[in-house]
Symmetry: C2
Subunit: 376 residues, 2 copies
């Protein structure tokens, strides 16, 4: 529901290809010319007229004159990638040639086109190279450089506003009863890793008017993430503010930890209200903020880093909830992290990733094979 | 041989934790204090003396006075994460309490310590949090922030010198017979993605003295990557220069593509001489440059992004060589990229990753399950 209601970003910008790693193409790329744009030698050796080498072998080499240009009876030294002389139609590998002054003894027969790269063999002019929505990798940028494409049109990166809420939070040193703000910081770093830009806002106290003002200030962002203030109990200012200023699509989600998460829109801006307990906050961020950013950014496919291993202990789950169990990897073993409280941030630091247990599965037994989704 | 001969970087630097994402710790982190540093409510509800709630239930609630502080007979409203009043030893969830003016009707019995987070329950003072060699993720930085650790000592990022060689190369528009330099560019972008810094040097022509000078200029780097000039044929200036200025450990490696790769040292600086054919160059970079950078950077474990799928066609391999076959992913299907030439850069752009076929395996048949290592 939430993802389907998010409209991918329309704005585009032009960027030089060298700065385009990880960016998502907003338009297709058509090859502006052939690559290579000439016939090239595919091996170090001698360019020849193939017919001249008919029957050449180790035992009966064919002697041909070495010249600057190639014609019947004359061969020329070429290097891998160099331009083929016009009349040459094959290259005999250097290993199959004995050079004696200005004569080359050819010891292997060459067939026409052997070891010759044709014009356009890599990419033909007019060929569709990349679709819109393709995220550029270093090799893609190399291909664009080869084709002399200097810059590309990409979608603007998503802007994500991160608003920590909670009057117990402080930015600096906490007194007794106070807590250092970490949820916003962690989300800022994750959002950056997920390819978006962030605005890491000041802590907003639990005052209705201040929460509403904070949300309204960031409706020009592409996505708002709040942290804290979403318990399903009494003090639930954030989702109430969302409902007032826009629409809560869902409040209370069958994931564990992360149940108090709310998803919706402030005016037209998508918002994920993440729980205040840090582990719940991170789980909800992986479950909703990351896919929301990918959708905004037009990322077609995103592959997680996963490792498969054998459980070294039982993994329990919360019945009816999709459970994100923290695990550590020791060689081939997947070890459950026993500290299960969603307030225990150190359980994330001790873990390498999640095993995600579906809502209809009652945990996994020791010895079972499981897939671990590694933390970003 | 190559990796074992590389000495990890000793230099360290101090960085604020907010800038430390992806950096590798050079020293252990010991918790400087308890987290939390006070007893906290683990639920929204009422802090109580547990004994006061003995026998409380839906049918026979216990009425207790609501006050600012807790003592026998008096309870106090608390929020998740807030400091527990000194004499309270449990929290009754808000759902189990009916409030009538200044009286709380408790409808569930609380056991001592129920819904109370103890001081130090997340991290105890003096606890070892991270070992040296740990690469910091957003959640780790959150934990450091929670513990008021402002900055960390990390290893300096590796400096990688990238030197493209080949007189056929040009930086700008190629004439016939010329080729745009792409290998160095692609390696620069990969090296950056692998957590190192790069120096992307000008193209060095195939002149012995110039190649030697270029190598000597970058012996202060942590790793040198050259591209081109490594065919096992006649024109092999680069590995000859390495042998003269240092030591070639190996030249010619049983990987396909990538066979002409040479590995060694210029003075004491590790060098990987990557082939000039772009696909071979990239394969060799994944096979040798990436692990070399990880070793320099003290990265203990690196998990690739992999996807398992079913082969939609036969994958052939070069017998006796570890073959890096390019494949594309279409849903669950793994499709071989048919264009196999190592000079065909577009085959990388069309691919999502490699299937790595061991040297003693003769390819894989259609329908077989294979693991795809996705491109960075």
């Amino acid at each position: 529901m939430f993802l389907n209601a998010i409209v991918p970003i329309e704005d585009t910008e032009v960027t030089p290809i060298r700065a385009a790693r990880g960016r998502v193409l907003a338009s297709q790329i058509i090859a502006p010319r052939d690559e290579p744009n000439y016939r090239r030698a595919a091996m170090d050796g001698y360019a020849v007229v193939a017919d001249d080498t008919l029957g050449a072998s180790e035992r009966s080499p064919v002697a041909l004159k070495i010249g600057d240009d190639v014609r019947r009876g004359v061969v020329s030294r070429v290097h891998t990638g160099s331009k083929m002389p016009d009349q040459a139609d094959a290259v005999v590998m250097v290993e199959d040639v004995e050079r004696l002054d200005d004569v080359a003894e050819i010891r292997a027969q060459a067939h026409p086109f052997e070891n010759v790269g044709l014009k356009g063999e890599d990419v033909g002019r007019g060929e569709l190279i990349f679709h819109p929505g393709h995220r550029l990798r270093p090799a893609d940028i190399g291909l664009l450089a080869a084709l002399e494409v200097p810059d590309v049109t990409v979608y603007r990166r998503p802007d994500v506003a991160i608003i920590p809420t909670g009057e117990e939070l402080v930015g600096g040193s906490p007194a007794e009863g106070e807590v250092v703000e970490t949820n916003g910081l962690m989300n800022a770093l994750l959002v950056e890793q997920w390819g978006a830009r962030y605005r890491y806002r000041n802590i907003v106290p639990d005052v209705r008017e201040l929460v509403e003002a904070a949300l309204l200030r960031d409706t020009d962002a592409d996505l708002i993430l709040t942290t804290g203030g979403t318990s399903v109990g009494i003090r639930d200012l954030v989702s109430e503010a969302v409902q007032k200023l826009g629409k809560v699509l869902v409040h209370g989600i069958a994931i564990s930890p992360g149940k108090p998460t709310a998803l919706g829109f402030v005016e037209d801006t998508p918002i994920a209200c993440l729980p205040g307990f840090p582990v719940a906050c991170l789980v909800a961020s992986y479950a909703f903020a990351k896919p929301a950013i990918n959708r905004l950014a037009h990322v077609e496919r995103e592959f997680e880093r996963t490792v498969t291993g054998t459980l070294a202990g039982k993994l329990t789950s919360k019945p009816g909830s999709r459970t994100y169990a923290r695990v550590a990897l020791r060689d081939e073993h997947v070890e459950p992290i026993m500290i299960s409280g969603s307030g225990i941030l150190s359980s994330m630091a001790k873990a390498d990733g999640f095993v995600i247990i579906p809502e209809n599965v009652e945990g996994y037994d020791e010895g079972q094979q499981v897939e671990v989704v590694l933390f970003d």
